[in-house]
Amino acid sequence: MGLLRAVALNTFREAVRDRVFYNLLLFAVLLVGTSLIIGQLAAGQDVKIIKDLGLAASLLFGVGIAVFLGIQLVAREVERRSVHATLAKPVSRPVFLLGKYVGLLLTLGVNITVMAVALFAVLAVYQSVTPAGVQATWTAPALDPRLLIALGLIYVELAVVTGVALLFSTYSSALLSATFTTAIWVAGHFVGDLRTVEQIGASGTTVWVARLVSWVLPNLALFDVKAEVVHGLPVPAGQVVAAVGYGAAYGAAMWLIAVAIFQRRDFK
């Protein structure tokens, strides 16, 4: 437990000392801020635009940071050989990998918190400049606490993406890992479509392959409640719990496969 914490905190420290992390974060916050101006331009429009943009920016930049830092988690250590001194200490490879994973989750937690604060600040400003009469037409209040559910599920999605990045990072170079992880992230949003290919009249093998791929890829649509939250539609608690459980299971599976690969690696 102490070992895990030490590795995780060191990984966190590595991220927060990386200038790129701040640049990405700053850029994301700026984008959320810009949504205020866009909201103003589309005068008379709903507060929905700001929420939409804010959530989308949180996801996009979160994925950016998850991929950028995730692929380096292990690949960089192996390439630069800093892993030699570390793994020569009495720390097992599974604990090392888990510590790295947890450390990055901490970093992403900080990242999503900053994004949430920025989004709520922008919404508060927007609310204060909007006449009460206009506010009455909104389908959901500006400072809707359910935005936190959407942000929470975005965080779980980031955790899954990080798991994928970690897995690739244990045996592939940083560049390849980045490409694969991004591809899987994109594909992960269409998993639902793959599961219904037979409805559009696909043949036997195609259905079979599509099913298989849909089980291997993470079903990221499960984490997407942005539309519901923005439009003030209900989000059932059961759905949220199921999504969190799925995300945790998928992340754990990524870690286990990463361990299986990493255990066999020779460090040159």
Binding site: G2, L3, A6, V7, N10, R13, E14, R17, D18, R80, R81, S82, H84, A85, T86, L87, A88, K89, P90, V91, S92, R264, D266, F267
Partner: protein, 322 residues
């Protein structure tokens, strides 16, 4: 009988080489050796001999193709085998976003120390390797030799009983080398076991109780310095000045070989076990001056060259297997 600290039994490592059709390349071939507690053991050999491979196998960084290795009775595949071991990798690289002090604290924690304890040990060790003034400096700003010193410090972070150093002198200035030599001797005096690899034979000669000489992945020689190096005199070397033709002829008759350095100044090499005294008398009688007289003994370098020269790796992958 004390238990050996390290037991290596027919340890073999093949690396796959080639992208399309990887073939095994034998980096280490059936190495067997034991290291006893309190020994300073040197692992010597030319480039590519398999020294680093051996040390990495001992730390579990590389998995053996066959054979076994145990440290303190535990198989090297277990995490527990590394509890009492400190390791300095070859050309070490550390997390450059940390300061020296932070690195040692982190590594101390990985060895199971509490943060405060790890920090305390870290500070003491940085002083010990001469980095006390740089302990708050980011490792990114360290020079090569400073990183090497830091590497030595981190190998000692949990006060290990076995210290394994891969080329500890590399990248160090003469003062740094002297410091590391002194450090190895003080570790020995503390009763610790030290295993290090080196190309520098004079270091091995003065530090090691025993050495192994590796070449082309095979153990070529193993033993204490007295076992390996014949300390008896093998020849004499004289330096004479004012040698005339008669004296030169007379010297040559004894079987000595001569090199004329400048007119009248001759270096005489008298092989075998012949006593040099008669030569001194002749030189005296002929009015030549004796500038130097010294015995030629075998050095570790001679032994090393004898064992290493002409040793080639067999065709990759075909060695030992059949």
């Amino acid at each position: 009988m004390t238990e050996p600290v390290i037991v290596v039994d027919r340890l073999t490592k093949d690396y796959p080489v080639g992208f399309w059709r990887p073939r095994p390349y034998r980096a280490l071939d059936a190495l067997s050796l034991e290291v006893a507690p309190g020994e300073v053991f040197g692992c010597l050999g030319p480039n590519g001999a398999g020294k680093s491979t051996t040390l990495k196998l001992l730390l579990g960084l590389v998995t053996p193709t066959s054979g076994t290795a145990h440290i303190f009775g535990r198989p090297v595949s277990s995490v527990a085998s590394r509890e009492r071991v400190g390791f300095l990798p070859e050309n070490p690289v550390f997390y450059d976003y940390l300061t020296g002090e932070e690195l040692l604290t982190y590594f101390g924690q990985l060895c199971g120390l509490r943060a405060s304890e790890a920090r305390r040990r870290g500070t003491a060790l940085l002083d010990r390797v001469g980095l006390g003034a740089e302990r708050r400096l980011a490792i990114r700003r360290y020079s090569k030799g400073m990183v090497q010193r830091l590497g030595v410090a981190q190998a000692l972070v949990q006060d290990p009983d076995l210290v394994i150093l891969d080329e500890p002198m590399s990248g160090l200035d003469p003062i740094g080398r002297r410091d590391v030599r002194a450090l190895i001797l003080s570790l020995r005096d503390e009763g610790k076991t030290v295993l290090f690899s080196s190309h520098i034979l004079s270091d091995a000669e003065t530090l090691c109780s025993r050495v192994a000489i590796l070449a082309a992945g095979r153990l070529q020689a193993l033993g204490s310095m007295t076992d390996l190096v014949q300390f008896s005199v093998r020849a004499w070397e004289l330096l004479l000045d004012g040698v005339d033709a008669t004296l030169e002829h007379r010297l040559r008759e004894t079987g000595a070989t001569m090199t004329t350095l400048s007119p009248g100044r001759v270096q005489v090499h008298l092989p075998g076990t012949q006593p040099p005294e008669p030569l001194l008398q002749w030189a005296n009688g002929a009015g030549a001056r004796v500038l130097a007289l010294q015995p030629v003994r075998e050095t570790l370098e001679d032994v090393f060259l004898k064992h290493v020269e002409g040793k080639r790796r067999d065709v990759p992958g075909t060695t030992g297997g059949a």
